[in-house]
């Protein structure tokens, strides 16, 4: 998750201000109380803007954890 990680971490800390645990690639929505499905949309769209990529609905639905999001961003950036 090299360069992508710090920016994703910023987005997560902004959106999920009550979460104080570590942010790793293994982090899932189930571990973060504020990370509900609406907040997930906000997260994904902020990531799209920040990294200049666009996800399909199927890609969004299939994301298993934060690392998967980072991998997808990296794949899209080529």
């Amino acid at each position: 998750m090299s360069q992508i990680q710090p920016e994703l971490e910023d987005i997560l800390r902004t959106l999920f201000d009550e979460y104080e645990g570590p942010i790793t690639g293994a982090l899932t929505a189930a571990e973060v109380e504020q990370w509900d499905s609406l907040a997930n949309v906000q997260l994904v769209v902020l990531a799209e803007r920040t990294f200049g990529v666009r996800f399909s609905t199927a890609e969004i639905a299939g994301l298993a954890n934060l690392g998967a999001l980072a991998d997808l961003i990296r794949a899209k950036q080529g």
Partner: protein
């Protein structure tokens, strides 16, 4: 998954009706457990239990289907949220589109209003608005109030108005036949005298004189919200009051007019020549107002307004 759940953990202090409703909702929508847990983390109060009892009575045998309809609504709202966050606007921009897609399609509209009925309990901002309607707005009406609701939808607000001892007569106008049928079902289920209902666009219904008007979650459905508020003004008797509720940054399949701040709504009410009696700002999903403003989250904005004497 839902069998293993302990309802009391999800909603501490929940009464029997709320517990049954939570169990039914999670049977239809197990993925919603985290959301409901958070919704009721601070505990459930008496209003939640009375609302759960009412919703259960309205649902009757259809509770499982209503819970499915809520699940469908949550999915529909999620799709609109994705569009809204990407584009910074609501998908639809004309009333004609919303009417064709939603209001004129009884199957779609019924599903939508059933989902919205359950959202009154599951979405904390909706519950806060409904409680404020009952406990803050209605007690300010004089006795023998002639009450109108424009766009009653599922009928819950109109029911609360009818149940309030100050209300003398209850009228509902709605553009959707499916909504009017649901209002009738709601009143029949609770064995309350049927309100007087009219299938009409608010701009076309004949002017009347009302002491009290509820106008909840309709403004954002209109192309011309300023004209609609002027209409509310004209329908009120001098000194009459209105309960005007509209959300900020809240996409839905039939939302057309985007209000980006609560102040935009308050200003529109003032511009219609109405006086402000009180304002409630209820951010969605329990967010603080600061956070909701910063992240442009949905905020239910309610204005209690009065037509000057």
């Amino acid at each position: 998954m839902s069998q293993a759940l302990d309802d009391r953990e999800i909603a501490p202090g929940a009464g029997p009706a709320l517990k049954r409703l939570i169990a039914a909702q999670l049977a239809a929508f197990p993925e919603h457990e985290g959301f409901l847990r958070r919704r009721f983390a601070a505990g459930a109060d008496d209003f939640c239990e009375s609302l759960a009892t009412t919703i259960e009575t309205i649902a009757g045998e259809d509770l499982a289907r209503l819970c499915e309809d809520y699940r469908w609504l949550a999915g529909a709202v999620l799709e609109e949220e994705l569009f809204f966050r990407r584009e910074g606007r609501y998908r639809l921009s004309s009333f004609a589109e919303a009417e064709a897609l939603v209001y004129a399609d009884p199957a779609y509209m019924t599903r939508y209003m059933n989902g919205l009925l359950l959202s009154q309990l599951w979405w904390s901002n909706h519950t806060a608005v409904l409680a404020w309607f009952r406990d803050r707005y209605l007690p300010g009406n004089g006795t023998q109030a002639r009450h109108l609701e424009i766009g009653p939808g599922h009928g819950l607000f109109l029911l609360l108005a009818e149940q309030d001892g100050r209300t003398e007569s209850c009228v509902g106008w709605d553009i959707s036949p499916a909504s009017l049928a649901l209002v009738e079902k709601t009143f029949a289920a609770l064995r309350r005298p049927a309100p007087s209902l009219l299938l009409s666009n608010l701009f076309e219904a004949q002017l009347g004189r009302f002491d009290s008007i509820a106008f909840s979650e309709v403004l954002e459905h209109l192309e011309a919200p300023a004209e609609a508020l002027a209409r509310v003004h004209d329908l009120l008797a001098p000194g009459g009051r209105a309960f005007i509720n509209a959300p900020v940054n809240s996409p839905a399949p039939d939302h057309i007019t985007l209000f980006e701040t609560p102040e935009a709504i308050v200003d529109l009410v003032l511009a219609a020549g109405l006086e402000i009696e009180d304002v409630l700002l209820a951010p969605a999903a329990g967010a603080s107002l600061d956070r909701a403003r910063k992240l442009k989250l949905a905020i239910s904005t309610v204005v209690i307004a009065r037509r000057p004497l």
